[in-house]
Structure formats: structure tokens, C-alpha cells
């Protein structure tokens, strides 16, 4: 039986507002526990939540960037449940009138054709607090700093067919919120979180199989790994004639396995109803247009521009635009070094090899500034240093953040292009290696590599390779 995997993702993106969604408390991460709270976010009786305008603006931005229909009339609803991280006993969210619906995102998984993934809805809601569990005592500690931090929940259609596609979707969405500058995207700190629903069905069948929900995946890689694990687990069950049980699973990244959450058994009944404290939000055409006008260039548009105007290959453009910071870095360097492809090669190999982490490239942490990189490449073009030496210089720049000129000067790496200086050494080498000279003259032109190599050794790689070749040819044939 051939099985097909069906995956849908729910992403929670914390918004980069200064204050919380319904009160003036700071959203700053990492403050001492319970120091960013007030009667509103603590759920004291008699308080009145008032909506932060910027939350709506950010939600509209994302809606437009993902081709959603923006609902002109929005209401907030109470989602009722009890949990110690939820002081009011309900979460203010949106239910039947979310801010945006029917969007889509185009993903381009590596080595596979691009696909459009539907976005069911985007809605605004408040985050809950944080629980810290005691290792020894049977108790938990509640920190309500995060309570009321604004979130956008982005729900995809069950359009994803492989864990790799799910990771690609997530990366794309992550890039978009970063481009829009509405979320800092920090998965470790939980500003960009993902839950996944996954089920398998016989290929060609319309109805979905029984799904399980995966939680606690705090990196792109973990999302893909957890889904691959769960895909295998479900496939083994089904091929064995057994059934998948609907359950919520927690991914344990250290052990590489998922474990069933201690089940709350009964299906949830959130008893949503309109929140009487919050009046409806109406989004005018003018507001919509104002936000639209302020949208930055998005990844897809930027990629297209890189391909069409800079002549970069599709692959380069995709990699460079995968994050706004990386694309900005590239363009800043490009301003001083207009050979786009050469610059792109350098960034994609040397730079990214050093900076690559699980969350992609943290270009903000790069000690080499764009102008410094541009200058380094210019020095190679002008023959001041060889391409090989440039890599040594670059390494030093990554370590110290120094300017390339300073490194070259300090380490005495300037390429030797002085004919007189090199000629002396060339003649010494020829004199010292009569056997190789014989071979060369006998027609073994490959021996040239040996000679140049000797010269590089003696000059510590600083000899201008082109000139070295010329000198040896001349000297060896001239005699």
C-alpha cells in the first residue's frame, strides 16, 4: 500500500511591539519573573483591556504579504480553559472572524518544484505565561511576564506532503515575518513557535487519516526531524494493520523521539464567545492602503530582482534572499563591489561556511562588515593579493573584525608582483632542480606545477601566480 503524508502547520509568531496587546506592560524578553505585569494582564476583576493598534497593523502586513483576504470587521473572542499560565481562565483570541483568511505561500524546497501552500487563517491573540517546573518538589512556578504578549497564529491548509516541505514552508514564513520586521523570529526564545498535525492515508484516498499533533519543536531542523520520526511511526503502524491513535506528542530533541503528552483525555470544549470588553475592529480601505504602501520588498520580489537585474542564478538568489539581513548584507557589499556573481560566490562559500548554524545564517553576528568584504575582493581583482591569500586574510578578518588592508599589511601578505624579486628565486629553483628541468624540456609540461609550487613555498604563497608562470616559461625555454 502506498501511503501519502499530510501535514498542516500552526505557527505562533510573537509580535515585535513594545507593549503587550491589551495593556501597557513591556514585552521585553528575559526580565526577572513577574516584573512585566499589571492588573489587566494578571486578569484582575474590573479591568478593561484596550487593543494595541500596532498589533492590527502588523497583522495586516502579514496578511498582505501572504495574499490573504483581510476581513474588514474583526471581533475578539474568549477561549475558555483552565491552566495555571492563563490567569483570566480564558485567552483573548479570534474565532469566527479572524483578521485574515484564504492566503498562500509559495515554497521552493531544495531539488523539488515550487508549490503553493494555502493559509487557512491568521488571527490575533494574546500569549500565555510560562511555567517552570520544580525538579524536586511537586510544584510549578508561574511567570506571567509573557501573558498578554501579542501573537499572530498562522494556520496552514493540510497541503504539505513531506517533512522537508513543512520545513521549507516554515523557513519561508520565518523569512517573511523577518522581512516585515514584525517578529524577531527567535525560535530558541519562543518568538516563533510551531505545532504540526500529521496523518497518513493511502495514496488517492480523499479522507484524511487519523492525525497526531506534534509540539515542542524549537528549530527548523527539529520540526523536520520530529515529522520524519512521526511519519515513520505512523507508517509502521498502518503497514502492520494497526491504527494510529489521535494524540498530542512532545518532541524530545535530545533523544530524537516523540512522547505522548500526559493526555487531558476529553476533547477540548473552549466555549468561544465574543469578548464583551473589546469592541469590534473595522479596517478601512485607507488603513489597508496605508499599510500596503509601507510594505518592504518581500523575499520573492527581491529574489526576482536579483535574478533579473543582477543576473544571479536562481540558486544564488534564493540563498541570498532567504533572510532579510543576508540580502541586506549582500546589497551593502554590492554597492562597493558591483560584480554580483563573484560577491555571491564568496558569501555563499567562505562567509556562510563560517556562519552556518541550525537557524540559518546569523549575519548580524558577522565580524566582517560588507564594505570590508567588498574591499577584500577588490584587492584580489587589483592583484594586491592572490585568491588563495584572500582566504587567509578573510579568516583573520572573521577572527578580529579588522579591515583587509590592515591584515595584509600586518601579516605582510602583499602579493609579490615585482619581476626582479621573483626572478632571483625562480633562477635559484631552476638551478637546484636539474632533473625536473630535464623533464620539462623533454616535453613534460606538467612539471610547471612543481616549479610554481616551489616558488609559492619559498614566498609563503605571496608570489603572483600569473607572473610566476610567465617567468618560469621564459627562463626554462630561454636557455
Amino acid at each position: 500500500m502506498e501511503l501519502e503524508t499530510v501535514i498542516g502547520l500552526e505557527v505562533h509568531a510573537q509580535l515585535k511591539t513594545k507593549s503587550k496587546i491589551f495593556c501597557g506592560c513591556s514585552t521585553e524578553f528575559g526580565r526577572p519573573p513577574n516584573s512585566n505585569t499589571c492588573p489587566v494582564c494578571l486578569g484582575m476583576p474590573g479591568v478593561l483591556p484596550v487593543l494595541n493598534r500596532r498589533v492590527v497593523e502588523f497583522a495586516i502586513k502579514l496578511a498582505l504579504a501572504t495574499d490573504c483576504t483581510v476581513n474588514r470587521r474583526n471581533i475578539f473572542a474568549r477561549k475558555n480553559y483552565f491552566y495555571p499560565d492563563l490567569p483570566k481562565g480564558y485567552q483573548i483570541s479570534q474565532f469566527d472572524l479572524p483578521i485574515a483568511e484564504h492566503g498562500r505561500l509559495t515554497i521552493e524546497p531544495e531539488g523539488a518544484p515550487s508549490r503553493r501552500i494555502g493559509i487557512t487563517r491568521i488571527h490575533m491573540e494574546e500569549d500565555a505565561g510560562k511555567l517552570i517546573h520544580d525538579e524536586r518538589e511537586p510544584q510549578s512556578y508561574v511567570d506571567l511576564n509573557r501573558t498578554g504578549v501579542p501573537l499572530l497564529e498562522i494556520v496552514s491548509e493540510p497541503d504539505l506532503r513531506t517533512p522537508a516541505e513543512a520545513a521549507a514552508y516554515l523557513r519561508k514564513l520565518h523569512a517573511i515575518v523577518r522581512y516585515l520586521d514584525i517578529c524577531d523570529g527567535n525560535m530558541q526564545e519562543g518568538s516563533f513557535r510551531c505545532d504540526a498535525n500529521i496523518s497518513l492515508r493511502p495514496k488517492g484516498q480523499q479522507e484524511f487519516g487519523t492525525r497526531t499533533e506534534l509540539k515542542n519543536m524549537n528549530s527548523f531542523r527539529n520540526v523536520q526531524k520530529a515529522l520524519e520520526y512521526e511519519e515513520r511511526r505512523q507508517r509502521d503502524l498502518l503497514l502492520d494493520g494497526r491504527e494510529v491513535v489521535q494524540v498530542t506528542l512532545l518532541w524530545d530533541a535530545d533523544k530524537g523521539v516523540s512522547q505522548a503528552m500526559r493526555s487531558k483525555e476529553e476533547a477540548h470544549d473552549y466555549r468561544y464567545f465574543p469578548d464583551p470588553d473589546l469592541v469590534p475592529v473595522e479596517i478601512s480601505e485607507a488603513w489597508l492602503e496605508e499599510v500596503r504602501a509601507g510594505l518592504p520588498e518581500l523575499p520573492l520580489a527581491r529574489k526576482t530582482r536579483f535574478i533579473e537585474q543582477l543576473g544571479l542564478p536562481d540558486y544564488d538568489a534564493e540563498v541570498l534572499t532567504s533572510s532579510r539581513e543576508l540580502a541586506d548584507y549582500f546589497e551593502q557589499a554590492l554597492a562597493a563591489y558591483p560584480a554580483a556573481k563573484k560577491l555571491s560566490n564568496w558569501i555563499m562559500t567562505e562567509l556562510m561556511r563560517v556562519l552556518k548554524g541550525d537557524e540559518g545564517i546569523d549575519i548580524a553576528a558577522c565580524p566582517v562588515s560588507p564594505p570590508h568584504l567588498a574591499r577584500l575582493l577588490t584587492m584580489v581583482d587589483e592583484g594586491m593579493i592572490s585568491g588563495k591569500i584572500a582566504k587567509t586574510v578573510f579568516e583573520e578578518m572573521m577572527n578580529t573584525g579588522a579591515a583587509p588592508d590592515a591584515v595584509v599589511k600586518e601579516k605582510n601578505l602583499v602579493q609579490v608582483s615585482d619581476e626582479g624579486e621573483l626572478l632571483t628565486v625562480v633562477r635559484e629553483i631552476i638551478a637546484a632542480n636539474p632533473a625536473q628541468v630535464e623533464q620539462f624540456r623533454g616535453g613534460k609540461s606538467k612539471v610547471m606545477g612543481f616549479f610554481v609550487g616551489q616558488l609559492m613555498k619559498q614566498t609563503k604563497g605571496k608570489a603572483n601566480p600569473q607572473l610566476a608562470n610567465e617567468l618560469f616559461s621564459r627562463e626554462l625555454q630561454g636557455e
Binding site: 511591539t17 513594545k18 507593549s19 495593556c23 501597557g24 506592560c25 513591556s26 526577572p32 519573573p33 513577574n34 516584573s35 512585566n36 505585569t37 499589571c38 492588573p39 494578571l42 484596550v50 487593543l51 494595541n52 493598534r53 500596532r54 498589533v55 492590527v56 471581533i75 475558555n80 483552565f82 491552566y83 495555571p84 511555567l131 517552570i132 517546573h133 520544580d134 518538589e137 511537586p138 510544584q139 510549578s140 512556578y141 508561574v142 511567570d143 506571567l144 503528552m261 500526559r262 476529553e266 470544549d269 466555549r271 465574543p274 464583551p276 473589546l278 469592541v279 469590534p280 475592529v281 473595522e282
Partner: protein
Amino acid sequence: MQIGTDKVAEMARLARLELENDEIKALTVELSGILEYVAKLQQLDTTGVEPVSHALAVVNAFREDEVAPSLSREEALANAPVATGEAFVVPKVF
């Protein structure tokens, strides 16, 4: 509109109310009476009437994204039945 004791028990569970059987029975009768009373509204012909979520005509009550002072931690934790100096303490949850 009539509801059964199972429905009332379910509502009690969701609201974390611990009710005795006789309380559930009594509440089933009372709640059914209330629901019947409210059900009179169903007799109104609402054809062509837009549903409303709020009785006020006000929309778009916003605040600007500005930080206002929070409570001190002592104040925030003052009403907690159990707290450490920095956090609320609750029975272990998963």
C-alpha cells in the same frame, strides 16, 4: 429547552465545579427553566437582521504602542495563595 443531568455535569467539569448528584439534579431543573425563558427570543423573526456581537455602536478603541509602568513584583504576587519571592507557586502541572 430541556437539558439533561449529563450536560450539567459536563458544564460543571469544564468550570471546575465539584457538584454532588442532588446538586446536579436541582441545577438541571433550574437551568432548564432559565433556558426555556430565554428561548422565547427564538420566536422573534430576525430575517434580514445582521447578527451583532456587541451592544455598543463603538468600533476601533485603540491604544498606541507605548509602554506604561507595570506593577512591582511584590504587588503582582500579593494576592497569590502561595508564592516565592519571584513567582506564583501552583501544584505540579504538565
